[in-house]
């Protein structure tokens, strides 16, 4: 996945998994990371008690720290997801009170942070390949991979068009009343879609030229090691503790 950062001076396209190699979890098998994190996310999503939800959020923060991912990178991604988290919490704030709203925010944040660690610590291709190896249907994983490829193509085309626009002294787009700028931007959007569609056709022909039928998986496959199993067990144990606390078995 790629995220685009626009600044007044430059236009940079950065991949979401750019820090995967420097993450402490980068070397782990994608399947272990997927199972571990998804178990934790499901467990966190089931929590309702505010104090336990905060324990889950604290666990996610510990996970962020343990991953050794750059805090700025995680913060940027979290801020990108924040509007959606707040939107999800809004109805709780409005109709169920502040406490429920805060619980919803903390619960969603715990899940999002864990997923950010998963996505940033794993090469995007490995992630989808891991899903396939976990027996997710080929149709679904291939669709995910091709969608990802299409987003990359779309992002490339958008960056080219934006640079071309700037190279011809276009600097509009900051004022909603600037009709000329809006017209240019709408033409650009149309061109980006047309060009992306043409390029996507070429990419598909490229796949077909290499005998592709339906399954896009890796060649070199890893074997689960002790550290992978330990990773999964840690998450399963943490999730179990959260659920036990939630059901007040210990109390």
């Amino acid at each position: 996945m790629r995220i685009e950062h626009m600044s007044s001076r430059r236009f940079v396209v950065k991949p979401l998994d750019e820090h995967a190699e420097c993450s402490r979890f980068g070397g782990l098998d994608a399947r272990a990371k997927l199972v571990g994190v998804l178990v934790f996310v499901v467990a966190s999503a089931l929590l309702t008690r505010q104090d336990i939800v905060f324990v889950s959020l604290a666990m996610s923060l510990v996970l962020v720290g343990a991953s050794a991912l750059p805090i700025r990178h995680v913060a940027k991604l979290y801020l990108g997801a924040l509007p959606f988290i707040l939107l999800a919490s809004l109805s709780f704030f409005l109709f169920s009170g502040v406490e429920k709203g805060v619980t919803m925010w903390a619960r969603a944040s715990a899940c999002v942070l864990a997923l950010i660690v998963l996505a940033s610590s794993t090469q995007t291709f490995e992630l989808f390949s891991g899903l396939r190896r976990l027996r997710v249907p080929a149709m679904l994983t291939t669709l995910l991979m091709l969608s990802h490829k299409y987003i990359v193509v779309l992002s490339d085309e958008l960056s080219r068009m934006t640079l071309a626009r700037r190279a011809r002294a276009f600097s509009g787009g900051r004022n909603l009343l600037d009709r000329y700028a809006l017209k240019v931007i709408s033409f650009t959007a149309g061109m980006v879609l047309v060009r992306s569609s043409e390029r996507a056709d070429r990419v598909y022909e490229g796949l077909k030229a290499k005998g592709f039928e339906k399954d896009l998986t890796g060649w070199r496959t890893s074997v689960l090691g002790v550290s992978d199993i330990a990773f999964v067990m840690a998450f399963v144990a943490a999730s179990a503790v959260l659920l036990v606390l939630q059901t007040e078995v210990i109390a």
Binding site: R202, G206, L207, K208, K210, E213, G218, W219, R220
Partner: protein
């Protein structure tokens, strides 16, 4: 045996523009043929048509003697290795070796490990096996794409503008590599010098087949090339001038390697030295373009 055969192929784009008209050609085993033509001549369309991504309006394409149609395109394409103009359109996997293995795995070929090793070795990128393709230079990406095709061991290589966008060194290395490959090849290009290094025969295409012959025959047909918007390579022009100045040239060289070979012959014949000439242009005499040489073998004016 004919690896590839086209008979009276015709193709129109959706807007009705004619892209190919009555194109016929045949490639025997081991043939290396260039399709030369200006932009919009239909070179890439022709390759995509051969690869079964487009269906001709009329005429037929035969691969290994079998008639290509939309039902058997996927099957017959296994014998073809299509190298796209932009390598980013055909590199999908996270590492170079994974990408090279992609084709052979899809085709369920045996000894994938050996094929990947051969593909990487034949394109000189063994050291890049574990690298991420999207971080490589354009020239290296072209090599990765070519290695992926080579690992599939196709009977015919279809190369779309293989030298476009490459820096001079990468271009020279790729030409050397393609020249050394002993395979049936069809190269679409407007790089006449590169084609001259690699192929034995060329077909000049401009929607229809304009002419065909050896590269040396084509550069002597200067008017034909110029009529469709192509230029004779500078090195051929230079030797044309040498010939006009009295240094008889056995055949017009098209590439730098051929030029060196030809120049060596001229120097040997002329007693190991060449005379330099002052070359003046005069556009005023009777409205004709007149070249005058103060000292030359023929000691006369050459009027174009």
């Amino acid at each position: 045996m004919k690896h590839l055969e086209l008979r009276d192929v015709e193709f129109h784009y959706e807007d009705g523009t004619k892209a190919l008209n009555g194109v016929s050609m045949a490639l025997e085993e081991g043939d290396k043929v260039a399709i030369i033509g200006p932009n919009g001549a239909g070179k890439s369309t022709l390759l995509h048509l051969i690869a079964g991504f487009r269906t001709p309006f009329s005429g037929e394409v035969r691969i290994g003697g079998k008639l290509l149609d939309h039902r058997n395109a996927d099957l017959l394409r296994k014998d073809l290795g299509l190298l796209f103009q932009d390598p980013d359109d055909q590199i999908f996997m996270p590492t170079v070796e994974e990408d090279v293995a992609f084709g052979p795995r899809n085709l369920k070929l045996e000894d994938i490990e050996g094929r990947v090793a051969n593909g990487l070795r034949s394109t000189g990128i063994e050291a890049l096996a574990k690298r991420r393709p999207h971080r490589l230079s354009y020239g290296m990406k072209k090599r990765v794409a070519l290695a992926g095709i080579m690992a599939m061991d196709p009977k015919v290589l279809l190369l779309d503008e293989p030298t476009s966008g490459l820096d001079p060194r990468s271009r020279t290395e790729l030409i050397k590599l393609l020249k050394s490959m002993n395979r049936t090849m069809l190269i679409a290009t407007h790089d006449i010098e590169a084609a001259a290094e690699i192929v034995d025969r060329a077909i000049v295409l401009n929607v229809g087949v304009v002419t065909e012959g050896t590269m040396k025959e084509l550069v002597t047909a200067k008017d034909v090339l110029e009529n469709i918007g192509l230029e004779v390579p500078p090195v051929s022009k230079l030797f044309g001038v040498l010939d006009a100045m009295g240094y008889e040239v056995e055949s017009l060289p098209v590439s730098m390697d051929q030029a060196v070979e030809e120049l060596t012959k001229v120097i040997d014949r002329e007693g190991k030295h060449l005379h330099a000439h002052i070359h003046e242009h005069d556009h005023t005499k009777g409205g004709k373009h007149v070249h005058e040489h103060s000292r030359g073998r023929k000691e006369e004016s050459v009027v174009e």
